[in-house]
């Protein structure tokens, strides 16, 4: 039997990896991928606790998280396409249209 803390540790490492990706990378698409890593870490945590506490609620909430991730990916990639079409670079530190 694998202890719960092992799953939580894996999830924490993945979440921190995602945070580093959001902070460090310049490419907008990679930043979105890092957000997906963070959502996956949260999902892993939810499912691990659902298994530990013998309740299915965690799995249902994880399904909702997957749905939210799909919506976020669709809208985020649409924004990337709009920004790219306007001949603005796809690096997050160069997208500063709303800055004044």
């Amino acid at each position: 039997m694998i202890p719960l803390s092992a799953y939580v540790a894996v999830s924490a490492i993945l979440f921190v990896t995602g945070v580093v990706g959001v902070l460090v990378r310049r490419n907008f698409i990679i930043v979105l991928m890092s957000i997906e890593i963070m959502l996956n870490a949260a999902n892993l945590n939810l499912v691990a606790f659902a298994n530990h506490l013998q309740s299915l609620s965690g799995q249902v909430v994880a399904l909702f998280v997957i749905a939210i991730a799909a919506g976020e990916a669709a809208v985020g990639l649409a924004i990337i396409i709009v920004v790219f079409r306007g001949k603005i670079a796809t690096n997050v530190d160069q997208i500063d249209l709303l800055k004044w």
């Binding site: 894996v10 990896t17 580093v20 902070l23 996956n40 299915l56 249902v60 399904l63 990639l77």
Partner: protein, 175 residues
């Protein structure tokens, strides 16, 4: 046998997560993310969440990641010479300190809690997906409906954002 599978899935998912963040070429990052999603699905199977593992493969790897790869191929991004922020070392250092703190906190926790009624045997009698469906359409009906409206909004938002402006739109904009 179970610890071997857990070690494999955990190790490979952590490594491919780090590769997703660290690789230079965006398409290679996408492939690393695919590996991460697949191995997380393996961890779900180890945690008795078979339905969620299937959903993870079908929706995450089959739909969301393909969307990312389509956009990457369509935009034809050059691989940048400088692909990290200028002050990235400080960010990594700060996050590393937080990670050590987090790990110490995790190891000190005892994870007590009230056990629910859905033990493995009870769930096995009806099957994992049936049990999740019953719960989702009874206790979690309102969140389910809200997610439906949210997805509709995301569809409309994505279409409106990427729609090409027609000539009539431009004239209305100018007048």
């Amino acid at each position: 046998m179970l610890p071997v599978f857990f070690a494999y899935f955990a190790l490979v998912s952590v490594v491919s997560g780090i590769l997703t963040v660290a690789l230079r070429n965006p398409v290679q990052c996408g492939i690393a993310l695919l590996s991460l999603l697949g191995h997380i699905a393996g961890l779900f199977v180890l945690l008795n969440a078979e339905f969620l593992a299937a959903v993870q493969i079908i929706i995450y790897a089959g739909a969301i990641l393909i969307l990312y790869l389509f956009v990457l191929m369509m935009l034809n991004l050059k691989t940048e010479e400088r692909y990290l922020h200028r002050r990235y070392a400080w960010y990594v250092l700060g996050v590393a300190v937080i990670t050590v703190e987090l790990m110490l906190m995790l190891l000190a926790s005892n994870y007590a809690g009230v056990k629910g009624s859905a033990t493995v045997e009870v769930v096995q009698q009806v099957g994992n997906s049936t049990a999740i469906g019953i719960l989702m359409f009874s206790d979690y009906l309102l969140p389910f409906e809200i997610v439906g409206v949210f997805l509709l909004g995301a569809i409309v938002g994505a279409i409106v954002l990427t729609k090409n402006p027609t000539r009539a739109d431009i004239e209305r904009e100018l007048s």
